[in-house]
Amino acid sequence: MAEAQTKTLAGKDAVLEAMPEHPAVKALLGWKQDGLVDAKFDRGELTLAVSKEDIAAALLALQAGGYNFFEDMTAVDWYPSIPRFQLSYHILSHARKERVRLRTMVDESDAVVQSITSIWPGANYYEREVFDMFGVRFAGHPDMRRILMPDEWVGHPLRKDYPVEGYR
């Protein structure tokens, strides 16, 4: 990792200019020329942002581009900003031994994202966890229920407006 590029590249244009040959960038550009909304290369990690509607298609393109292993997905609540939720997908390429982060923003008013369980069934528990903790729903998920909290629980604990000690 020491040899990896350490310079920070902020913004889509900087990333496209500095690493046009990167397989993840190429895969996304090959899928849709204007699909990439934003990009960042920071602390040795590449982040690619796409719009909410495109997330499943973009991940499919990444999978075709050699990023074969879904490793992690989660959400970040940027309350009170709008759009509120950030979804981060971490995808690994076993061949390149490299990860890429795909990011999308989702607003609370329309917190439904297409599920990627049809691409990687392993995303099942993660999407359930995001629904449980943040209240973001996934369309097309086979079993959209809470996973860690009890089924009858009210509220989504990892939201920033949910008190740490819970509602009393």
Binding site: D42, D72, H90, E98, R99, P121, G122, N124, M149
Partner: protein
């Protein structure tokens, strides 16, 4: 992706209609001894054949990720011990690496080597528990007593290093909490010298045992394609032919300087996972030996970052600067530059990753913990479907689950 990989939703009680009246719904856990904690499995069985299996999680959910958001960065370290409580130092390392990446902090070489040394001892600890409980589930109770004998020595080493047997918190952001105690290296060396014989001893009890072999061989088959689709990592994935180990392929904390083999098997069954973990223990011993032999002489164990790393007691008591830094760090923490990082390491169970998001303040905005046990559990139904109920116990044992890391 084949549709049958997508788990079927909740199992409802069978009705009297149709052929389903042959089926029985069985609750296994959350108090069942072979579920290694509080895992609850809802099984639909046809006689002794598992038709469907559904894991119910959350009985040990403590909201650690939420708690992290209310703490200073350095206060999160003790919380990470409690996640995967069989590999506390690996969690400490993972969290510290993630925050150090955010801070872009350079760690002294000696601290890195001690981190490698102790995480490998932690791996032995984790694998010993796996072996003991796995064999016990199968009915070989003796091995459990033997592995816990060795584990006791590891816990004593942990106690010597950190004052705690299980909740170590020895690694800190920017280095180590304290200089390693006198005699620690000798004690680990003495332990490692006899340990390969102990592995042979377990092996003599189990590997040639026809009952053990019969219960494990060709049970819990998971193909390579399924393992990739279901995000399976660690020894379970390597036993299914996925040749990936973070230590070798994305080295961290100077693992690139160590020479070790990553065992891989294409047999995809419980037996392969057993053999593979036994070999991993031998490789861990090799890494520990190299770490002891090549341990950098002298040098410091803390990064040169007075605003982040606590000063040692001596300078805190004698220098005003150090006292101010100490006071500032303890009372108001330290600000971490805004950004997001995803750091991964190889724990005893597989690829663990922390996704830490900073908004530029002294408290993490979000700490997400990716633990291998959580997603490996998704493959359980795949491995048990159509097999005997008794095999479920063998498969759970082979996955080496720790509910602390699954429910968090």
């Amino acid at each position: 992706m084949p549709a049958d990989l997508v788990p079927t939703p909740v199992i409802t009680a069978p009705t009297a209609e149709g052929s389903r009246d042959q089926h029985m719904v069985l609750n296994m856990g959350p108090q069942h001894p072979s579920t290694h904690g509080v895992l609850r499995l809802v099984l639909e069985i046809d006689g002794e054949i598992v038709v469907r299996l559904y894991p119910e999680l959350g009985y040990l959910h403590t909201g650690i990720e939420k708690t992290c958001e209310a703490k200073f960065y350095q206060q999160v370290v003790p919380l990470t011990d409690r996640v995967d409580y069989l590999g506390p130092l690996a969690n400490n390392l993972l969290y510290c690496l993630a925050v150090e990446k955010l801070l872009e902090l350079e760690i002294p070489e000696k601290a890195q080597w001690i981190r490698v040394l102790l995480t490998e001892v932690t791996r032995l600890n984790s694998h010993l528990i796996w072996l003991g409980t796995h064999a016990m589930d199968i009915g070989a109770l003796t091995v459990f007593l033997y592995t816990f004998r060795e584990r006791e020595e590891i816990l004593r080493i942990f106690e010597m290093v950190s004052g705690q047997r299980m909740m170590t918190s020895y690694f800190r952001i920017g280095g180590l909490a304290l200089e390693p105690p006198l005699g620690m290296f000798d004690r680990i060396r003495a332990f490692i010298k006899t340990f390969p014989e102990k592995i042979d001893e377990y092996s003599n009890l189990l590997t040639g045992n026809p009952i053990f072999y019969g219960r494990l061989k060709d049970v819990g088959h998971l193909s390579k394609e399924d393992a990739i689709a279901l995000a399976v990592t660690g020894p379970v994935a390597r036993a299914s032919g996925i040749d990936y180990d973070v230590r070798r392929d994305n080295p961290y904390s100077s693992y690139e300087k160590f020479d070790f083999k990553v065992p891989v098997s294409n047999d995809c069954d419980v037996w392969a996972r057993y053999m593979l973990r036994m070999e991993e223990m031998r490789q861990s011993v090799r890494i520990i030996e190299q770490a002891l032999d090549g341990m950098p002489e002298g040098g410091t164990i803390r990064a040169d970052a007075p605003k982040i790393v606590l000063p040692d007691r001596e300078s805190m008591k004698t220098q005003m600067e150090a006292l101010i830094h100490h006071f500032k760090i303890v009372t108001e923490g330290f600000a971490v530059p805004a950004g997001e990082v995803y750091q991964v390491i190889e724990t005893g169970h597989g690829t663990a990753g922390y996704y830490v998001v900073s908004d530029g303040t002294a408290k993490p905005w979000r700490v997400h913990m990716r633990y291998p046990g959580f997603c490996n559990l998704q493959s359980l139904e795949r491995m048990c479907k159509g097999r005997l109920l008794a095999d479920v116990v063998a498969v759970i044992g082979s996955m080496d689950i720790v509910l602390g890391e699954i429910d968090r």
